[in-house]
Symmetry: C2
Subunit: 212 residues, 2 copies
């Protein structure tokens, strides 16, 4: 939760913007594809159904997205670039201390998987449905996100802040835990998003053996 | 990994059986349904396709499973009862100490999600496709598994073994981490299953603040 107060960093108008989640900013055809894929899966969805949900004719939809596959790719590409952009902003704002960077990237992952649950669900379940020419790009995005967490955990171990004997495994476990939030989090539940973030951030610190 | 050596417990021929994963024991029609659902999802799969994979005629398949829904329910019911049975055996063999029970249930969850990845994947992605009359049964199974971990973590905190301030959240985080293993584990990877279990067990202990 720390943003590295007191350290030298560039302050801009967009500070903390990575925490802001309003309504989804997906273009209408991608939002329609997301709703349909969430409900019936990629292979269970027709282009006709997506067009109907988007209030477009099938030719009108094809004008923007020439195939069902291009809708899936457009959706997953936006999902991953949004996640990466937010995580990179969070880390950049956190300053130089590994524990502050760790808190920032974990909070970013948690928020994304709370506020973009459906995108996260389709992203993790429809990798199987991506054409071979795009799948490596998607996996590279995912690896880049994991690598960002790995580097921070390694730095924390190096600095003596994190005591875990298994930094790479702990980093993956923390990421998995954050991603998994999308499977159980409900907006408007008993505990608010901020309290759940606070608790899971503490659990993530424990998982890497943070010594305060 | 401890099985509570030195404590009084009933030793039987089936001791440690919860660790044994051979080939899947699914009946042929359910194995065929699993393969098809894994590849194309429930809504993207036809009964004809399942029958072909099972080497059965469609009427022959319907003789045992009267609908695609009954195949999904049969598959998920077996998945959850197998997981619960193994976890309960593991805990029962672990003796009375919370940390031994914790190790046992975490190891059971990890192994299941390593060796039954496809069943776990279909189980977590096709809850949306279950008919309303069965879905509550499935969710009750899942809750029972979570509750088993919760009770052990609460007991560990009570006994002063686990220092976490958020036992319920930590229990869910640990379960989420174990379930998520199915998204990345590959048989024959660089590290064997036993080494990965050893490391993730340590990370799970850290996540609940275990003090040895």
């Amino acid at each position: 939760m720390s943003s590295g107060a007191g350290e030298t960093e560039v302050r801009t108008d967009s500070l903390g913007e990575w925490r802001d989640y309003g309504e989804s900013e997906l273009p209408v055809p991608l939002a329609a594809a997301l709703a349909a894929f969430t409900e019936h899966g990629y292979h269970g969805t027709s282009v006709r159904e997506i067009a109907a949900r988007a209030n477009l004719s099938v030719p009108g939809l094809y004008h923007h997205y020439p195939s069902k596959q291009s809708l899936l790719q457009g959706l997953l590409e936006r999902t991953m670039t949004d996640l990466l952009r937010r995580s990179e902003m969070a880390v950049a704002e956190a300053g130089d201390k590994p524990v502050d960077q760790f808190d920032a990237v974990v909070e970013s992952l948690l928020r994304f998987h709370m506020y973009r649950r459906e995108q996260a669900f389709v992203g993790s379940t429809e990798i199987r449905s991506l054409d071979d020419d795009y799948r490596p790009t998607y996996i590279a995005h995912r690896d880049r996100q994991q690598h960002m967490v790995d580097e921070i955990v390694f730095a924390g171990v190096e600095a003596g802040d994190f005591a875990t004997r298994y930094p790479k495994d702990a980093s993956r476990a923390v990421t998995t835990m954050c991603v998994g939030v999308s499977t159980w989090f409900k907006l408007g539940g008993e505990l608010g998003a901020d309290e759940l973030i606070h608790r899971n951030l503490q659990i993530a610190r424990d998982a890497v053996g943070y010594r305060s």
